[in-house]
């Protein structure tokens, strides 16, 4: 369970996050949506202790994110950031292997290699495993980064716009894989999405942010309505129902 309690964040005088309190239960897929600049990435960075907390508290299974040793947290949660500049010249396999670092401290065991191979398979990277990252396309690199986070094999997986750069096939593929590991292995996935229909199809719960606050929180069928979407995004989005699911059509 992730408990976020009274968290605020400000740069200089601008408030980025204002007094956010929300609980994300263990298990399942939670989608974080909202317009650009709403504070989704900032919130995720705080949960993943990439930024120091200014006020409030965040705990993960009762462990305070601020004071628990990084080593311990690295076995509990993995994070994929929205943009990643990797300093090193690495092959796909090396990068994915880094996901095992919290477990093996750099000495890959046979078990670690098995997990890496499995991740390469799962994200269709086996053919690319020997390639250097800078030679990959944007979508291929994104898949490698997701595979690295997956390899960390943590209870919590925080993904900031993992669908960036992915084509329709891989976007659906990734969402299905995430759904499956949530269902079969009881992982907790928090995922930032811009495509509301992916959120509607794969998430158990949607959290919507705007201007540094949580403005809506509920099941997909509660959130994906023209009214709610108007509160979140500030414009009229028609919603129809296909196969009993609400589908937003923000195209015209």
């Amino acid at each position: 369970m992730i408990e976020i309690n009274g968290v605020s964040l400000a740069y200089d005088v601008t408030n980025i996050l204002s007094d956010i309190s929300v609980t994300i239960p263990k298990g399942g897929v939670t989608a974080l949506i909202g317009p650009n600049g709403a504070g989704k990435s900032s919130l995720l960075a705080l949960v993943a202790r990439l930024q120091p907390l200014q006020s409030g508290a965040i705990t993960m299974d009762g462990l305070s994110v601020a004071s628990t040793p990084g080593k311990v947290l690295a076995k509990k949660m993995a994070i994929l950031r929205q943009d990643n500049h990797l300093g090193s010249r690495l092959t796909v396999r090396e990068l994915v292997g880094f996901g095992r670092f919290p477990h093996s401290r750099g000495h890959l065991t046979a078990e670690d290699r098995k997990v890496v191979d499995e991740a390469l398979m799962l994200f269709d990277l086996d053919d690319l495993s020997g390639r250097f990252l800078e030679t990959l396309s944007g979508g291929q690199r994104q898949r490698a980064l997701v595979a690295m986070a997956y390899c960390q094999d943590t209870d919590y997986l925080l993904l900031d716009e993992p669908l960036n750069n992915l084509d329709m096939y891989f976007a659906r593929d990734l969402m299905r894989s995430l759904r499956r590991i949530a269902d079969e292995r009881g992982k907790t996935i928090v995922i930032v999405l811009h495509d509301i229909n992916y959120a509607g199809t794969f998430a158990d719960r949607i959290l919507a942010m705007r201007n540094g606050r949580i403005v809506a929180d509920g099941r997909p069928d509660e959130l994906i309505t023209t009214d709610m979407l108007n509160t979140i995004y500030g414009f009229e989005i028609p919603v129809t129902t296909i196969d009993g699911r609400p589908v937003a059509l923000p195209f015209r």
Partner: protein
């Protein structure tokens, strides 16, 4: 399994060392050999210290162009020494135990480099700004150094002058035992941290995500770098571009930034260049005092090439 390229480098380094010891042996064998062995040990140590400190420094500062010396860290060491001369007077300084001076220098360097460089890393200055800040720091401490040198009376000045330029001919062997101990300790720590350094090289966010305590690691690495720079500066004097040359060559050879490969490769290349170069200059060119200048020149060219390539990206 040891990498083939490392084996070749090790063999080359061994050949250089043997040539250095045995070429043109004359006179009292025992005496000459002891002399040469001491000098060889010093050269190897300096090479390793410079190479390893540069690798670690480049990894924590996330760039391939800066070396501790370009950031003025060795200038700090010299500055601390001349400050000591100023405070104690030349005679007292000269009679002060060499190891004690060295220890004071290292302590001062560790403190100063943390105080000065950590804020830069914290503020995540980009490479250009880091470089600028480093150059300014280096100039600042060198000018302070020469300012104090001017204030000093001529006798005191003679004491400091000897240590202001890189010179592989006139190695300060008196410190060898202590310096070896420090280098060895630093090396063991760096080697144990090699996988952590690999993760650090991924960048701050990725490293924290993988469980690295970022601040602690940065401080630790800077302290290690300080010790190694102090060792090499104390033994032979400041050497700005050497580290860059060694590491750039090593990266070419092993084609990787993995520290388990890069660290030994850079250290071996340093030994080959320094010991081999010294042998060559001593026996083939008959003038060994220019080695420092030549290697620095080569390093300077590598620096320019890296800058140029970096600016085109």
């Amino acid at each position: 399994m040891i990498d083939r390229r490392l084996i070749i480098l090790t063999l080359l380094a061994a050949v250089c060392a043997i040539a250095f010891l045995t070429l043109g042996l004359r006179g009292n064998l025992g005496f000459v050999l002891t002399l040469r062995a001491t000098k060889l040990a010093a050269l190897i140590e300096v090479g390793i210290a410079i190479a390893v400190s540069t690798v670690v420094f480049q990894t924590v500062t996330a760039n391939r162009i800066l070396t501790p010396s370009i950031m003025g860290i060795d200038a700090l060491y010299l500055f601390a020494q001349i400050l000591l001369v100023l405070i104690l007077g030349g005679l007292a300084y000269a009679t002060l135990d060499a190891s004690l001076k060295f220890a004071i220098g290292i302590a001062a360097l560790m403190i100063l480099s943390c105080v000065l460089i950590l804020p830069m890393l914290r503020g995540r200055l980009d490479m250009g700004l880091m470089l600028l800040a480093g150059v300014v720091l280096g100039v600042l401490f060198r000018s302070l150094h020469s300012l104090i040198a001017r204030i000093l009376d001529p006798n005191d000045f003679a004491v400091v002058q000897g240590m202001s330029y890189v010179n592989f001919n006139d190695v300060n062997t008196g410190l060898l035992a202590l310096a070896s101990l420090m280098t060895l300790c630093a090396l063991v720590l760096v080697w144990r941290a090699r996988h952590i350094l690999d993760v650090v090289a991924l960048g701050r966010d990725a490293a924290i995500g993988l469980g690295i305590d970022w601040t602690k690691t940065q401080v630790g690495c800077l302290l290690l770098v300080s010790v190694l720079v102090a060792v090499s500066t104390a033994l032979v004097g400041p050497a700005a571009f050497l580290g860059l040359l060694f590491v750039a060559l090593a990266e070419r050879v092993v084609q990787s930034r993995r520290h388990a490969l890069l660290i030994p490769a850079a250290a071996l290349i340093a030994v080959i260049v320094l010991v081999g170069g010294q042998t060559l200059f001593q026996h083939a060119l008959g003038n060994s005092s220019t080695l420092g200048v030549v290697i620095e020149f080569a390093g300077g060219i590598v620096f320019l090439i890296l800058l140029w390539r970096g600016s085109r990206r």
